[in-house]
Amino acid sequence: MTVNRRQFVLASGKYLVMSAAASRAVGYVLAGSPERAPGYSAHDHWWAMAIDIDLCIGCGGCVRACKEENDVPLEPFFFRTWVERYHVPEGDIEHPMVDSPNGGYDGFPERYREGDGSKNFFVPKLCNHCAHSPCVQVCPVGATFESPDGVVLVDKDYCLGCRYCVQACPYGCRFIDPRTHSVDKCSLCYHRITKGLTTACCEVCPTGARTLGDLKDPSDPIHEFLRTNMVQVLKPQMATGAKVYYADLDGSVR
């Protein structure tokens, strides 16, 4: 067998620098073609996301990356993930001002003033990949489901476009794709996480404000995150089994 220089550098670099999972991921990337993940066993994973409010700088990188990776229509009504800006007048957590210009795609032009006694922060949002999803329960044909690894997915070929799930989602995470008339939503980048890569939004997040986690992997940093932070999910009263955990979430966020 002859090995040229590039192949040698690639192969040795891979084994020296990276863990097994990462080198497998790179293998997929360099192979190029869209492939299913043969070595992946859905039953060995239980995916979740950790979001640290204090780290989000509202750059909108996640929104742009998500639209690009998942071919989401660019019109400002369609988002698989988006970022909201909260402005909470002092103490008045029942009346926050919330806006999300184009979902945060173009960043957030300044709107508020320093020192007016308010509290200001960004909240990235996405599908909560609920373990007991209302959207799954209402689907009349089984076109949306909780996968064995804890991801709420859509079967676009099977979807009728009836919109029940759009109404059922308490978090407003679903939309009808105007091109296919099928429902669409965050898939937690299922095509990436099954190949050992992280989601597009987590990949580009400059501060680590959002990180993908595997709750079934004892060595995953998400356990440390859940242990050392005060965490909350959105709308816990709905008992949806949401798996997007927010650290330092303010009571005004809904």
């Binding site: 670099g13 360099l30 509202g58 898939s187």
Partner: protein
């Protein structure tokens, strides 16, 4: 007994209709419901493969750093070390797949820097921000800062 089944005509028709209906139902059900529906739950098991066979656009920083180890080393100690390459360079899986065929453009620095570093009340206090007009007076950010290692202490120059 014979008396009882004297007028059986309508019963036979009913049974016949029922039988045909059942047959149609069973055949239609067999044709319409995919074979793998219900293997894992109330859905098509192959929908998992549909979802996992979407094409990648972002290669991930591990892939970039394999070949661009010089840039990786340059960034390793910088304030930007936690930022993935494609946060600034955009999705480049096509380039990582085949670097000879796709040569990426160099991104323009200033709009990138401003998107993250422009002062904004909502940004957390720990994050270093500037008011671009006052800070750089119209100069491009990379006149003074190096995008891969933007601080000054780590390159040892005075800017």
């Amino acid at each position: 007994m014979r008396e009882l089944f004297k007028d059986k005509e309508h019963l036979v028709r009913m049974a016949g209709l029922f039988g045909v209906g059942l047959l149609v139902f069973v055949v239609l059900r067999g044709v319409l419901i995919p074979a793998d529906f219900g293997d894992l739950g109330h859905y098509r098991a192959s929908a998992l493969d549909d979802n996992s066979s979407v094409e990648l656009r972002f290669a991930g920083r591990a892939a970039c750093e394999l070949c661009h180890d010089d840039v990786a080393a340059e960034r390793a100690k910088s304030a930007h070390r936690s930022i993935a390459c494609e946060a600034c360079h955009g999705a480049l899986a096509v380039h990582a797949d085949n670097p000879e065929a796709v040569f990426p453009e160099r991104p323009e620095a200033t709009p990138l820097c401003v998107a993250c570093h422009e002062a904004n009340v909502t940004k957390p206090a720990w994050f270093p921000t500037v008011i671009p007009d006052e800070h750089s007076e119209g100069e491009a950010c990379d006149e003074c800062h190096m995008p891969h290692a933007p601080g000054f202490e780590e390159v040892g120059s005075d800017g």
